[in-house]
Every structure is written in structure tokens, then in C-alpha cells.
Amino acid sequence: MPVLQSQVENKLRERLDPIFLKVEDFSDGCGFKYNIFIVSKQFEGQSLLQRQRLVNEILKEEMNDIHALTQKCVTPEQWEKMVAENPDLAKQDQVQKPSDSTKKCEFHQH
């Protein structure tokens, strides 16, 4: 079953209280492939592996259906540095609309 982008966003917001969140569906709206960019205080003092484990745990149910997921999990401090170097980052919409959902979805076996 396709995973809704809003469902992914809501769960992450609820559990990680992010100061910036961007969830992109790169499966043409099918809900099978996501890029996640998340900035949360809760990542402080955690290794990359621990941060991603946390996200995986939150999306445990969804992961059964999601075929591909990329994660960028950063702390507010890292985020400030990133924005200082590239102010455009923070200008991007926090919630990206799924790309054209009228496009025909291809079903891949991953």
C-alpha cells in the first residue's frame, strides 16, 4: 500500500518536534520513495547511526512499504551553519507538495 507523505510528515513532527522538516516524494506521488531532511534538537549528542535508527523506528510501519528512503538528520547547530553557507536552504517550503500525481505510477520491485 502506498505510504502517504502527510503520514510520514505527521509522525516525524509528532515525535521529533523538528525546527525544519522537508519530506520529498521522489516516486512521482506513488508514496514509495522518500527523501527526508529533518532538523531536531533530539539529534544532539547522537551519532548518525543513532539518529537514523530513531527515524527508522518512528517510521517502522511505513518502512514495510517504502522502497527507498534517504535521510539527512541534523542538529539545530549544524543547521545554522548550513543555512549560513547556503541561505536558500531555509527558504524552501517546509512541506513539499507531492509531484504531479496524475503521472502514471510505475511499480518497481525493490
Binding site: 548518525l48 547511526l49 537514523q52 535508527r53 527508522n56 517502522k60 518502512m63 527507498a68 534517504t70 539527512k72
Partner: protein, 110 residues
């Protein structure tokens, strides 16, 4: 026929078979997924030799490795039998320079 215990033992031997072990889709010469290819490219870039196992050729391994490492996706990278992470983590370590230090720790000069 193979029980869950057999698979776990097999995986344990695999992750300890070399300093760097990668579980991936396809093989190092012919990766079958962009994420797996990225991991191979990064390790090659650092001149790091590794053993790879193709999960597409072995359904027991494909499900077993996810359980073994408590990590839901492929590829998976192990250094000295210890789970390091997937593609995003290796890429981030490569970008930050952390990978050079980690490789040095296991005796590989990149």
C-alpha cells in the same frame, strides 16, 4: 532448509570475514541499485578493499541481515563486524572526512 539460527550464524561469519563487508543489491562489479552503487563507489574512491554479498541472490540473507542489524534497508556496511550504517551514513562520513579516520582505525590508509 535453513532456520533463523543458522542464518544468524552465517551472517555473523560473513560480517567478520573481512575488515569491510557490504551487503548490497548486485555485486561490486555490477550494482543493481543506485544506493548500493554509491557505497561501492565511495569505498573504491578511498581504495578500501571490501567483501560484498548480493542479497538479491539469497532471500534468507536479504531478510536475515535486516533482522541481524535491526536496519530496514540495503545496502549495509560493516567495519570489523560492527554495523556502520547504510548509504546516507557512509556518504555523510565521506563528506565530513570522518570516513578517513574510521578507515585508519581499522588499518586502511585512504
Amino acid at each position: 532448509f535453513s532456520s533463523a539460527v543458522d542464518v544468524k550464524q552465517r551472517i555473523e561469519q560473513m560480517v567478520k570475514s573481512k575488515d569491510i563487508v557490504v551487503f548490497m543489491k548486485g555485486n561490486a562489479q555490477q550494482p543493481m541499485c543506485g544506493f548500493s552503487k554509491a557505497v561501492v563507489d565511495i569505498l573504491n574512491m578511498h581504495g578500501a578493499k571490501f567483501e560484498s554479498y548480493n542479497v538479491l541472490a539469497d532471500e534468507d540473507l536479504r531478510s536475515g541481515i535486516k533482522e541481524y542489524s535491526n536496519w530496514p534497508t540495503i545496502p549495509q556496511v560493516f567495519f570489523k563486524g560492527e554495523f556502520i550504517g547504510g548509504c546516507d551514513i557512509l556518504l555523510e562520513m565521506h563528506r565530513s572526512g570522518e570516513l578517513v579516520d574510521e578507515l585508519k582505525k581499522i588499518g586502511i590508509k585512504s
